[in-house]
């Protein structure tokens, strides 16, 4: 089962939700698909068992065969190849590794060779035993998509895979969501948060992926997100209040559930709600007002973290 944690706006708490959810479940695997800026490891501090190079295919010209006819340059839709007399120039950053040039070279002078684009790290989180997978794009590499694909291909479908997506709503985010069972959108109750949430909702509706919303940094007397979710009949599964202690724990790289262990219950509850939403028909939320009413109104009210840890309030500040 693949659950994506995404958000239109950056910095709303994707990694916070993804890492804490992973740590709260048995048999879960955290997959860092934000390959441009993979941060999950800073919180999970995994034991890395395997590091492998991830590559993509780039054309290589065999100058003993090439007669500079220009067919490759002509057929490449991405203008990645320029043929000059006596030389073929490849613009690596333009190449989409589609293989058209190699296939259509009349002299068979193009071979595709593997070019490293990043690394994939595989391991586990001690002592919880959660799995850890991470894609890490090389600096200067443009295409995140192929690396995201390779990370996803390593996921074990029998496990609960929590996929931490990059911010935004363009190709990389779409690549992470493709084929996923479910998506949680993390947002914050500001005009930016709401605006970008709307964009993300549109993408998920086009992709027909079931989804719900988690409101992070919630404030009293602010129902920006609640109202939007009600109007759009989108389940709001969890509300996390703004709390400086959480922000400070995050700043140090400490997962919330490690400092406030009772929060694991909240995350398990979040997961049960996801399961329930999926079981109730695996519907696309857009057309399922009834379902979202049930999720919102019945026993499934948004979790509100009224108090993080009343008995420990005194000493949980600071280190």
């Amino acid at each position: 089962m693949n659950i994506v944690i995404a958000s239109g706006k950056g910095g709303t708490g994707k990694t916070t939700i993804a890492t804490n959810l992973t740590l709260s479940l048995k048999n879960a695997v955290y997959l860092d698909c934000d390959v441009e800026e993979p941060d999950g490891h800073l919180f999970l501090r995994p034991v890395v068992e395997q590091t492998k190079t991830a590559s993509r295919l780039l054309p290589e010209i065999n100058y003993e065969k090439c007669n500079f006819c220009g067919r490759c340059s002509e057929i490449c839709q991405f203008h990645a190849l320029t043929v000059l007399p006596g030389q073929v120039i490849l613009f690596e950053e333009m190449c989409h590794s589609c293989g058209v040039c190699a296939y259509y070279c009349p002299l068979g002078a193009i071979r595709e060779k593997e070019q490293p684009m990043g690394i994939i790290r595989n391991g586990y989180v001690s002592p919880d035993g959660s799995g850890f997978l991470e894609g890490r794009l090389n600096i200067g590499e443009m295409m995140a998509g192929p690396l995201i694909q390779q990370v996803k291909a390593m996921a074990d479908p029998k496990k609960i895979n929590i996929l931490d997506a990059p911010p935004g709503t363009a190709c990389s985010m779409v690549e992470v969501v493709r084929g996923a069972d479910y998506c949680l959108l993390v947002t914050e109750p500001t005009p930016f948060g709401l605006h970008d949430l709307k964009l993300a909702v549109n993408v998920l509706r086009v992709m027909q992926c079931p989804f719900a919303v988690v409101e992070n940094k919630a404030m009293e007397h602010n129902d920006l997100i609640v109202q939007f979710c009600q109007t759009e009949k989108i389940p709001l599964l969890m509300k996390i209040p703004f709390d400086r202690r959480l922000a400070e724990a995050y700043s140090r790289g400490e997962p919330a559930v490690r400092i406030f262990p009772h929060l694991k219950r909240e995350f398990r509850l979040l997961f049960r709600k996801i399961e329930l939403q999926l079981q109730t028909g695996n519907l696309v939320i857009e057309n399922s007002g009834e379902l979202s009413d049930r999720v919102n109104n019945s026993s499934l009210k948004a979790v509100e973290w009224q108090t993080l840890s009343p008995e420990r309030n005194g000493n949980s500040d600071g280190k």
Partner: protein
């Protein structure tokens, strides 16, 4: 063309990590510089218009590339296209437009010529008026790719506007990350302002961004937002910046007013007495000093 006024000063506000405060800073610089073109290059999730409230003047369609479409009447369901597509974009003799990269392999291969390959509008970019200047941003259609190309388009339009209206500054609100849209936003800038926050991920993502900036060989400076959230990491960022010979342009304190302003869709400089606004004015002055030294040489 032809006139000899100096080209505009181009600044891009970037951050590896999302949500560190790029748009808040860019909007404030917009107010402080007065005569400028503002460009929102975070085309995935463009928010700058919420604060700057431009008056829309023109919209243009953005053609990101071509996509394949299978004509089901001609298709004999031979399946060659599906076999060769590297992007798994074809299933059951239909093209998933969100997965299609537009390479045209299927169109070339199809023995029945049943695949139509045509340009698609992937989004729009807009041009508008703001007090004392111009504004450019873009909206990508849900799930569309090629955002790097759209970023280049937005910047090109903004630069042309700065040229034709003789505005002195071009300020670009950049996208997060270090991939294709960020690369596009960094091209041709005079100064990159990197906004980070004192968290383990803020530092980690800044380190990766700085490696990219060095490859571009563009002058850059660091702004630490919410600087007092974690003193230890804040000083780590400062010494990292020093080692990398990147000037520290400013440290914006954690300030509730920033949230208040945002909720009212106001720019933080409208609250000139708050600590965050005061520091941002200082950052603006530091940026000015950077350009004075540069032109002085």
């Amino acid at each position: 063309m032809g006139n000899n006024h100096t080209p505009c000063k181009q600044i891009v506000v970037v951050s590896g990590k999302g949500g560190t405060g790029k748009t808040t800073l860019a909007a404030s610089l917009s107010v402080l510089t007065a005569k400028r073109v503002m460009a929102d290059a975070d085309v995935d999730a463009a928010d700058l218009h919420i604060l700057l409230k431009p008056q829309l003047q023109n919209s243009y369609p953005y053609v990101g590339g071509k996509k394949a479409f299978i004509d089901s009447f001609r298709c004999t369901q031979c399946g060659i296209c599906e076999e060769y597509c590297r992007f798994d974009a074809i299933q059951d003799y239909r093209v998933d437009p969100l997965a299609c990269e537009g390479c045209g392999f299927c169109m070339q291969l199809c023995p029945q010529q049943a695949i139509d390959f045509r340009e698609v509008v992937s989004g729009f970019y807009h041009e508008g008026l703001i007090d004392g200047g111009k504004f450019v941003d873009a909206v990508l259609r849900p799930g569309e790719g090629n955002s790097g190309k759209l970023v280049s388009q937005v910047k090109k339009r903004a630069a042309a506007l700065a040229e034709s209206t003789e505005l002195e500054w071009l300020i670009v609100d950049g996208p997060p990350g270090i991939g294709c849209p960020v690369n596009a936003s960094l091209t041709g800038v005079d100064l990159a302002v990197m906004v980070t926050e004192p968290t383990v991920s803020g530092l980690h993502d800044l380190e990766r961004l700085v490696q990219l900036i060095h490859r571009f060989r563009i002058p850059a400076g660091v702004v630490i937002n919410k600087a007092d959230l974690n003193d230890v990491i804040c000083s780590q960022i400062e010494s990292f910046a020093e080692n990398e010979q990147l000037p520290l342009l400013g440290k914006i304190p954690f300030d509730e007013t920033v949230v208040t302003a945002l909720l009212e869709e106001k720019i933080i400089t409208e609250f000139p007495d708050c600590p965050a606004a005061r520091e941002i004015v200082q950052i603006y002055q530091n940026i000015n000093t950077f350009f004075e030294i540069k032109t002085g040489n």
